[in-house]
């Protein structure tokens, strides 16, 4: 009879304050993110991927997006592209080729498409295609080989 008030008091004191606890589940996981299509732009002279919240797109569609250049938001974050405007790219199953077809209207001027790309620009195309292919086939980006216009097969990491 003498012990239970003491026990109560002890229990009351033990409950004082906010103490540590074990790990407790709170149901439903957090949800978020969208699967996007990674595009490769240049930032501080390095190839950097950025995902667009669309897709996942086919390699050809991804290259179309890439050719359009960074959005203004991306531009604000110093994303840039080295792809020339007067570029005609054909994406096939394992790579891309440059087309030497009719002149293109760029900024109100007619220009013939470029026949050569800078190393950075090639990297942008290779990596974007590799990423799209990798997403589609469930592979790692660096395992995808892409055939560039001079028939060589390169990997994205060759450009990093």
């Amino acid at each position: 009879m003498r012990t239970w008030p003491l026990a109560l008091l002890l229990a009351a004191c033990a409950a004082c304050g906010v103490g540590p606890s074990k790990v407790i589940g709170a149901g439903e996981p957090a949800r978020g993110f969208v699967l996007g299509t990674p595009l490769y732009f240049v930032r501080l002279d390095r190839l950097v991927s950025i995902s667009r919240p669309v897709g996942p797109l086919e390699a050809a569609e991804a290259v179309e997006l890439l050719a359009e250049g960074p959005t203004s938001k991306e531009y604000d974050r110093n994303f840039d592209t080295r792809l020339p405007k007067n570029m005609a790219v054909r994406v096939n199953d394992d790579g891309f080729t440059l087309e030497k077809s009719a002149p293109m209207l760029v900024n109100g001027r007619w220009l013939s498409p470029v026949s050569r790309l800078s190393r950075m620009a090639t990297g942008q195309l290779v990596c974007t295609i590799a990423a799209a292919t990798a997403a589609k086939r469930g592979m790692d980006v660096d395992d995808v080989r892409v055939t560039v216009p001079d028939k060589r097969q390169v990997r994205c990491k060759d450009f990093s």
Partner: protein
């Protein structure tokens, strides 16, 4: 610690215990519930908010995302003191508050998990979840952790606790007050009862208690009154009967005196002429004379003791020198030569010389008759009293007889049914001693030692009507 056993202390302690426990219990429960609600509420709100913000802000983040995007998202998710880590599944955020335990749980199960941790005395809520894609619900490969301080909730709780404590003190004080009031209500009748019982014990049988209310204590008071009334009635009856019997003895003694006086006169004549009678008639005459003398003495003693019983004994006090008074007593009975005396002079005591004579004569007479010589009489001064000690060197009195020697008609030797005395001598001697405000006691010595003590000062006021009479 005896006061702890008192009714008042016990009642107060009980009240404080009950009151205190109720308060502590209620406050504890309130606090516990408040803590639960407060903390649970805060935590739930934080986790829900976290979930919403993740859903809202990561909608614009397309996967696969680079570390820069993830860092940007984490920055967006951080509001106030909240710290957010957006990492790839399995990566370890550089924060000790995100425990390995939590990380393991987050990886193991597709749900939002949380844990409370304490760092530097500050409680934190740490939550974590692998993020599922909003479309499809498959794992996105990203895990988000949040670390949020619960300091505010803790201080809210401390406020609740201090409020409970603040409430507890007056409640306990109230319990003490209530206990004291209840104790007073119970204790007053108990104290009355105690006083009344004591008065009853002192012999004031007319004591009654006021009966207030109808509770158990009132019933007890009523019962007490009934008992006291019954006791008063029985004691009254007993006293009445005793008085009647005493009166009867007094009346009988008185009535016997007249015929005895006549008989004494006749036997005096008979004894005077006994020598002239023939042998048998002479013996008979002497026998009758002796018996009449004894009867006269018995009747005298009976009348004397009746006077004591009736409270009619009168004390004629004089300043008397005890030594010469005792010597005169012995001399008048011709015992001076048989008794060794030690009588210091000049011990003056207020006493009734006739009654001292009766006492000393009785004691010395007994010693000479039943004890063995030498019989000694000593007078001593002891403090505020004078002691007259009469001792003999006989076999003394058996221990079982000692308490009864002053009883009326008590015979130490049952076989000696007819002794020379009336059987009232020691009783009368003791009544005389008590009448003086003194006492007469007996102790075993070499023989029997009777000690008469007399106060050296006059007994205060009137001598009690019936000394030695127990109520």
């Amino acid at each position: 610690m005896t006061w702890l056993r008192g009714l008042r202390a016990r009642l107060v302690i009980t009240f404080v215990l009950v009151g205190g426990l109720s308060v502590v219990g209620a406050a504890g429960l309130t606090y516990y519930k408040a803590q639960l609600n407060l903390l649970t509420g805060v935590q739930n709100r934080l986790l829900k908010d976290f979930r919403n913000r993740v859903l809202l802000l990561s909608r614009d983040v397309a996967l696969p995302a680079g570390d820069a995007e993830l860092a940007l998202l984490a920055e967006d998710l951080e509001v106030g003191d909240r710290k957010v880590y957006v990492v790839k599944d399995g990566a370890i955020p550089g924060d000790a508050r995100v425990t390995a335990e939590l990380r393991a749980r987050v990886l193991r199960r597709p749900e939002l998990a949380w844990q409370r941790v304490t760092r530097d005395g500050v409680p934190y809520l740490v939550g974590g979840s692998r993020v599922m894609l909003s479309a499809g619900g498959t794992p996105s490969g990203i895990t988000i952790y949040l670390v949020e301080s619960l300091e505010q909730a803790a201080s809210d709780q401390a406020a609740v606790l201090s409020a409970a404590q603040t409430a507890a003190l007056p409640a306990v004080l109230l319990a003490v007050l209530a206990g004291l009031l209840a104790a007073r209500g119970v204790l007053r009748p108990v104290a009355d009862l105690d006083r009344a019982a004591r008065r009853l014990g002192e012999g004031r049988l007319e004591t009654r208690l006021p009966v207030r209310g109808g509770d158990e204590l009132a019933r007890l008071a009523g019962r007490f009154n009934e008992t006291a009334a019954a006791l008063e009635r029985s004691v009254g009856e007993l006293r009445e009967m005793e008085a009647r019997s005493r009166r009867f003895v007094a009346d009988v003694s008185h009535e016997l005196r007249t015929p005895l006086a006549a008989a004494t006169a006749v036997t005096d004549v008979l004894e005077a002429g006994a020598d002239r009678l023939d042998a048998d008639a002479g013996t008979a005459a002497r026998l009758v004379t002796a018996e009449i003398t004894r009867l006269t003495k018995l009747v005298d003693d009976l009348m004397e003791i009746s006077r004591f019983d009736a409270g009619a004994a009168v004390l004629n006090l004089n300043e008397v020198d005890v030594g010469p008074a005792v010597a005169a007593c012995l001399r008048s009975r011709g015992w001076s030569s048989d008794v060794t005396v030690d009588l210091p002079p000049d011990i003056r005591v207020p006493l009734d010389p006739r009654r001292l004579d009766v006492i000393v004569a009785n004691l010395v007479g007994n010693a000479l008759r039943h004890g063995a010589p030498p019989v000694t009489v000593r007078v001593r001064v002891t403090g505020q009293a004078v002691a007259v000690e009469v001792a003999d060197h006989g076999p003394g009195l058996p221990a079982d007889v000692l308490p009864h020697v002053f009883e009326r008609f008590y015979k130490a030797d049952a076989a000696r049914a007819r002794s020379e005395g009336s059987g009232l001598g020691l009783a009368i001697a003791r009544e005389n001693a008590l009448l003086h405000g003194g006492d007469l006691t007996v102790a075993p010595g070499p023989g029997a030692v009777f000690t008469l003590t007399l106060p050296r000062t006059r007994p205060a006021g009137k001598a009690p009507a019936r000394p030695g009479r127990r109520p």
